[in-house]
């Protein structure tokens, strides 16, 4: 792996834009770190950090010049890999027109190791089975992934437990480690496309000191996980915990609002919206994000299989940490902690697992 150092991200962003990529990176908006299109490095959230705990997220001032000094934001790559609304088809007069897949050339700057793991999970779901999704493939192929190795994990992070981070090891085109004194970025290349881009920007080769400093960032980050999960035998242990009294207890706090599933970078469930024009001559179908916390989700013959809140919470947690292995041969949880932070009542999956198992 070729490793280089650059003092600024400006040339990288300019190079990506000149290659026709829309660069999407972290910015601050609405009191949070949000992905948005950027055109220069000054738009990155320099000196901003975050404080995350169950049910609470606040931006903070870091009093330094780090531009990636925060943990997982409410946005994951899912919005780009699996947009919330995808037109499927249009049918008129007995003919079916498949919707043209939109695959914008997006360079996603600042994805974390947990996000890369989540993308790998989605790849397995949408491409790895008997019915691969060509639209998803097109979007993925058009997307360039520039990872950032986490320096400052959040209070709800547990990627170390899930074996997905904090260092990005695979699945990226480029991976950055932000270093201080002096402020610089170590860049690892993970693909031919990534290597081409690095060649085109000004850089110097990484020294032994740079590499050691970067390793130290990831080593320290790994010791600063806000949460942990004992994953030993979790698939079997959780599958056998149908009758735990904890499900009813957590349901008393669960709003079934779906926030956890919406912010989860691997939750892929969808439903389909049917629409017609007023003449009824044109019918359209659109795939939209759905959640196992809604009653319609498990509706059979007019009633829900999982009518109770406890059954719905059990479904979600069990799917993430247990039955996902049966279905896709991997964990459905990558340890990003978003479901913990963004649960309005602060339900903490790591705490629930601790009680249930």
């Amino acid at each position: 792996m070729n490793t280089v150092v650059t003092e600024s991200l400006e040339p990288l962003i300019a190079e990506l834009r000149s290659r026709g990529f829309t660069v999407v990176g972290p910015t601050t908006r609405d009191g949070a770190i949000r992905f948005a299109e950027i055109s220069c490095s000054a738009q990155l959230p320099a000196g901003r950090g975050d404080e995350q705990r169950p049910g609470r997220y606040r931006l903070t001032e870091r009093h330094d010049d780090l531009v990636f000094g925060f943990a997982a934001s409410p946005d994951s790559a899912k919005r780009y890999t699996q947009p919330p609304r995808q037109p499927l088809l249009r049918m008129r007069e007995g003919t079916v027109e498949e919707a043209e897949a939109q695959a914008p050339r997006i360079a996603l700057l600042g994805v974390r190791a947990c996000d890369l793991a989540a993308i790998a999970v989605q790849d397995r779901v949408f491409l790895g089975g008997r019915h691969p999704d060509p639209a998803y493939r097109k979007r993925r192929e058009a997307m360039l992934l520039i990872a950032v190795n986490c320096a400052v994990p959040g209070g709800t992070c547990f990627c170390v437990s899930m074996g997905t981070g904090p260092k990005a090891t695979t699945g990226f085109d480029l991976a950055l480690t932000e270093l201080s004194d002096p402020h610089r970025f170590l860049i690892e290349t993970g693909s031919g496309r990534g290597a081409e881009i690095v060649t085109a920007i000004s850089h110097r080769p990484a020294t032994g000191d740079d590499v050691v400093a970067a390793e130290e960032v990831s080593r320290v980050a790994a010791t600063r996980m806000g949460r942990q999960v004992d994953t030993d035998g979790i698939q079997e242990r959780l599958a056998g915990a149908h009758d735990s009294p904890r499900w009813a207890e957590v349901a008393s706090r669960c709003l079934a609002c779906t926030n956890c599933t919406m912010v989860c970078p691997t939750c892929f469930c969808t439903t389909v919206e049917d629409a017609t024009d007023f003449t009824g001559g044109v019918a359209e179908r659109t795939e939209v994000w759905d959640s196992c916390f809604t009653l319609d989700f498990s509706e059979v013959g007019g009633s829900s299989v999982r009518g109770s809140g406890s059954a719905r919470y059990r479904q979600w947690l069990t799917h993430k940490f247990s039955t996902w292995f049966d279905q896709f041969g991997m964990s459905g949880c990558v340890g990003c902690g978003r479901c913990i932070t963004w649960c309005p009542t602060g339900i903490d999956v790591t705490e629930e697992l601790g009680c249930i198992l």
Partner: protein, 265 residues
């Protein structure tokens, strides 16, 4: 609107008003471009807000706005049901009794005596009730006011003979799909979104405001859990009672939520 010749064969639509502010009917007029397509496919036979021309019944689809608050309303809703093949209520008044159902929590005669110089001229019922309390209703469209997209969806679904895509899940689903950050988590702003039915497109959170619950309770509201969190965010008991006693105060889950807030103190 369209004359009788043009109306031949098209489904006939009627729009009725009961106790309400007319805002939901205005949503239909607000459809502008789409209204022309609607008018092309549907004979808008009775819609006093838009036209004084009154086509006689029966009607294939009646949209009913407003709640039942007077003895005359009681008679009139029976007539509306008789002349309507399908009856869809539009808005919080018709579906839940509306803001005027706050009288249910007080003495309406006392209100009348304070507001009107001659309260004896006022013929009003003790309670403001939804249409479904009086006649069978085929579909209830929520909201104060209703959402334009949802109204068009209900009309086109009716024309296509399908179930309208009007999910009963929480506002949070469309809030996150829209790309909003959760105002409760990120700002500490009290929000009824988690217990409120979707439909508005998460309008208020999109402008960094908490949800006011205009669309009434979602399918499985857990207001007790939300109340605990709202108290954490600093809401007092009277404030909690007040947020549930608005446009959908008499919807059972919101009625209970307010009562629980009172009894939990």
């Amino acid at each position: 609107m369209a004359g009788p010749a043009a109306a031949a064969g098209r489904p006939r639509l009627a729009v009725w008003k009961f106790a309400s502010c007319d805002g939901c009917q205005l949503t239909l007029l607000d459809c502008e471009d789409e209204l022309l397509s609607v008018a092309a496919e549907v004979d808008i036979a009775y819609f006093l807000e838009a036209s004084s021309a009154v086509g006689p019944g029966p009607y294939d689809l009646s949209l009913v706005e407003g709640s039942v608050t007077t003895p005359d309303d009681l008679r009139r809703i029976q007539h509306v049901r008789r002349v309507s093949k399908r009856l869809v209520t539009i808005g919080a008044c018709a579906t839940a009794g509306g803001i005027q159902a706050l009288r249910d929590f007080a003495d309406v005669r006392e209100f009348a005596s304070i507001v009107y110089a001659r309260p004896d001229y006022i013929a009003t019922l003790e309670r403001s009730t939804p249409i479904s309390a009086h006649v069978p209703v085929d579909f209830e469209l929520r909201g104060c006011p209703i959402d334009k997209r949802q109204l068009l969806e209900v009309i086109s679904a009716f024309l296509a003979g399908r179930r309208p895509f009007v999910p009963a899940h929480s506002v949070c689903v469309e809030c996150k799909a829209r790309g909003n950050v959760c105002v409760m988590v990120a700002h500490g702003t009290p929000c009824l979104g988690p217990v409120t039915q979707a439909g508005c497109g998460a309008l208020c959170p999109a402008f960094n405001r908490g949800c006011y619950g205009c669309f009434g309770p979602m399918e499985s509201p857990n207001a007790r859990a939300l109340n605990a969190q709202l108290r954490e965010l600093g809401m007092s008991t009277p404030e909690l009672v007040r947020v549930y006693r608005t446009f959908n105060a008499t919807e059972e889950p919101f009625r209970q939520a307010a009562e629980e807030a009172e009894s939990d103190t």
